[in-house]
Assembly symmetry: D2
Homo-oligomer: 337 residues x 4
């Protein structure tokens, strides 16, 4: 049994790790830390955890203990804070999967410009492996530090990268109009996320300025106009992607054939997925349409932002790191309801 | 044109007054105050107000100005704070409609016990008129201070009082199982009302302890077990009421015939209203069912908590006070969608 | 008092006309027809109408009676069926506002290709006036037949046309990524719109094939890639529009200054509206952002699909036709909650 | 590996069985039948099933094949139709878990009166075991035919029966005010369940007449006033239960101690569960409050109607029948989001 530690377990990605790992056949959360809720029962914050975790309490953050007792540590911390703590955990000999943005970028300058921070551990930043298993499986298997991809980035890159790599689109014409459920905003006491303000509404935010833009660009190889929107649903991202097609429909199909055999990424041809296709599962579904009139390719890509977009992908990375079946403990079917 | 002032205009009942009064043929909001948002545009907090209020800003609270410039002042303040401010406004010669609980009770001791406060103005508390027009029309017409009823109380009392008054139920057997939309909780930065926590959920709260219980009991004459619940909808209260019937179905019908001719209270016989019947309107709809097996009468009563349960009823009171058509500016049809 | 008839009053646009006209100071619904529900009370289908319409019943469709008794008739019928019935009403001397697509197009061939129909009344098709008051006020005032614009079209054209007219964008680069609430799908017994299938989901539909595309193109002068999506909210359309900017930020501002003085169309500069800004009102709000990196202009445009996108705009047209205040009976403030 | 057949697999309980069994370590759906969708892919109706079931198609109903190839058959059919088909499957040697009402009642007359039907297989009706594992574990283990409890019944009986059995309440005073998510209504093309009609609303239905009333009464031993309501959420039932307490708070606690050691039923004392505590899990959570003023006990009981209220409980029964860990494949943690 793999012993799992979670730093910053009180947020939604921490919760989701605890929820998913409760069903994992070979891993178990043994230490869930939270600075703000140390000493309190996890079931006081998330009553539904009681069924699997009983009276377990959040521990205070103790890096030595985490490094010593846990086979792997998931870091669910704000970017900026995470880099340093993950670095110390690595120094103490831990294997770390970082869900923040701190270890995702190849180009450290791009990270620093995007997040307006100086990275405290350039050494580890260059060592860290980007945790997109469909592309980096081998490197992940040997890694001690994973930068787990952003949610919008996962939905976008899985859709765009095959097209860029195959040279079937003009990579300078990509627009990603993305819509995310509210859980993406995290567990916050903020009027902007009050149910009265969110439900029965919908809005764009971070237009031309959202930080995931540079990560999408670095990982996909495209120049991207990225517009995120806030959907009044709990989970799920749907990205509608527009680009100029430079090849045929068959070439598009062939580009996506790279996902043949993947357990969690499915290309549906001209059937388009919706949020409900993926919410609750670790899957990414992708569908395409071609507009003759303009020569544009339209791609729709969907994931569950908390699962394939965060905690599920983190577990998928753990499975790869520990040589387990890549799908162990990960749902292939969504809630539908 | 009646000049209207609103104290504490930044909350949801203040917003709703501004929204409704934008369509009132003979009244107009001329002063909207907010201590916390003074100097800011109302459209910054509620962008939809721009269409009717343009660049109007929240003023700081200035009681003299309110009393002098406004024909009537609506107070949308927390209980406890409201009593004093309304008192001062009255002293300055204003007519005041208080949406808080401070001037609702006949029995001041009951108020003080319920709200754990000492009332600063017992003189005015005994003068104030309870603003339920269907029962107090004449007194409201001559009043200078109105205690506007609570939302749960309006839904409950309009349903229960006719039965108690007519002696057709045992008034010691009343259970009110009430469900309210989230707007009832107000505009708050609180994780408990974060969309992630509220939507796709439902819960009871304040069981056996909710403060509206004593107001329901005082105004209806019944002993009441009151259980409120939080519904994942914006607006609306539905109260399912259980009591022992001591008379016939015809007697029930006769009891509710007191609402014949009312513009805003409708008895539907054995058709039961739902939230959608009322949300967006100033109406209360009531339906009943009798269970032979147990001899119980089941009453379903619905209102929009922000309109008939707060701001709409306050405007109805204003209309009565100023001798206008009681329905001026008040919607008789709900949104449905 | 203008006497209003509604043909096909049992759908959502018919309901919305009845809801809005219940508050109109100078117009009143006197005849609401429905083939399928003739003889049934309007309050049986929409219980909330009881407060304003009491025991009114849907009449069977009788064109002579409509033409004779009503000063204006709103047609809420499916496209294809509407052309013929509106034509007969006109022949009988009625003034008609048609909410279907049948009298919207200048280019009849484009209509026939888009809707795969032969138009039965080319004579009237060329006479009919497109009911977008912000552009056609004078013609509407003198018209006897109005083609009321489509919902997606209203949101799109109000945003795009000023830019095309001012020559500040490349009109061949326009992408409209639009999201609409479920009321846009109408009142249907269809599993696809069952609450279980719609809520907590989101999807694109009609990609590259939606019929509003040609109407948007004809009325805006742009070539448009149009992708509609289904939002899990009742009301509202938000369109995120992408195009290549060929001028400066100032030029954009100047282009939108054509709406200065409009009561229902508001340009917000770089503030972006959301669904909540407009749902419940007859307003269209528009905001813009410029992306330096790509030279793209991003426009966000919002309306309530049932009001400015259908029934409210129809009433606005009626107001213009009858020389009333253009905003009579039309809400300038949305529900917010 | 247990080979599972599902009759009527296209409805929501059939879907939920397929979703849950996709994660079951020792059981697998090998045959999913649907008369109306025979020959179609399961992923055409539920696209999210593609991840686990690929191109599997619904088979036509073939009882011999089901009985022969499957170790156990789940029947997800309408009451009335189910009795006969389950009977034939039993005759053919199958083990059957019936999710309809047909094999739930001890008193066949009560069933026939409630459902207005003549039962075709009284022999099997008296043999069938009521599938509430917390009460009938031993009998379930040896059964070949299970009557799987109703959703409202599970939530109600798990809360009421301990109190009746322990004699701590007056069993003639019980009121169950229950609220259920929309999935309880099934997958239907019906305007009443159109998203436009359900969301932002709430209503009571089947007041004094709902068929689950008699099942609750038979299984709990109480006389019950039962009022179901339709909640605008996907999943979950919350029952607020009122009864006259005839003993002490300690006695109540002791009554519920019968669930100590249960994996799926949790008594929380005076903490009250909410829908979110259970939605997505197979758990039932129960909390209580005592009202001194009236001597009433108020019980709040929550389950996920599709899991503990239907498909999850059916799998729990299967686990017991086949000697597996009772919790195999069943989630102990809900979605929360």
């Amino acid at each position: 049994m793999i012993s799992v530690g979670i730093v910053g377990a009180n947020g939604y990605t921490g919760f989701e790790l605890m929820r998913l790992l409760a069903c994992h056949p070979s891993a178990k959360v043994t230490l869930a830390t939270s600075r703000s809720l140390a000493g309190q029962k996890v079931a006081d914050t998330y009553p539904t955890l009681r069924g699997a975790y009983g009276d377990m309490v959040y521990s205070d953050v103790a890096l030595e203990k985490l490094a010593q007792d846990c086979d792997v540590v998931f870091a669910c911390l704000p970017h900026g804070q995470s880099a340093d703590i993950c670095g110390k955990l690595i120094d103490l000999g831990a294997k770390v999967i970082d869900l923040s943005a701190d270890y995702r970028y190849d180009d450290l300058g791009l990270y620093e410009k995007t997040y307006k921070l100086t990275h405290p551990r350039p050494d580890l930043a260059s060592e860290a492996v980007y945790g997109l298993p469909e592309y980096n499986r081998k490197a992940i298997a040997g890694a001690r530090l994973i930068g787990n991809p952003g949610c919008y980035v996962t939905a976008s890159v899985l859709a765009i990268k095959p097209l860029v790599d195959a040279g079937v689109i003009n990579p300078k014409t990509v627009i990603v109009d993305a819509k995310s459920g509210v859980s993406g905003a995290g567990r916050k006491a903020d009027v902007a996320y009050n149910a009265n303000e969110v439900s029965e509404s919908f809005k764009a935010y971070g237009v031309t300025t959202h930080r995931h833009t540079t990560e999408i660009e670095e990982k996909s190889g495209a120049v991207v106009t990225f517009t995120p929107h806030l959907l009044p649903v709990h989970r799920g991202i749907l990205a509608t992607i527009y680009c100029d097609l430079t090849a045929t429909a068959k070439d598009v199909e062939k580009a996506y054939s790279r996902y043949d055999g993947e357990q969690f990424v499915h290309y549906l041809g001209n059937k388009l997925p919706e949020i409900k296709t993926v919410a609750g599962s670790n899957c990414c579904y992708i569908g395409t349409a071609i507009e003759e009139k303009t020569g544009r390719l339209i791609v729709v890509s969907c994931i569950d932002n908390l699962i394939k977009g965060a905690s599920g992908q983190a577990i998928q990375n753990m499975n790869v790191m520990f040589g387990l079946d890549e799908s162990a403990g990960l749902p292939k079917v969504g809630f539908h309801l």
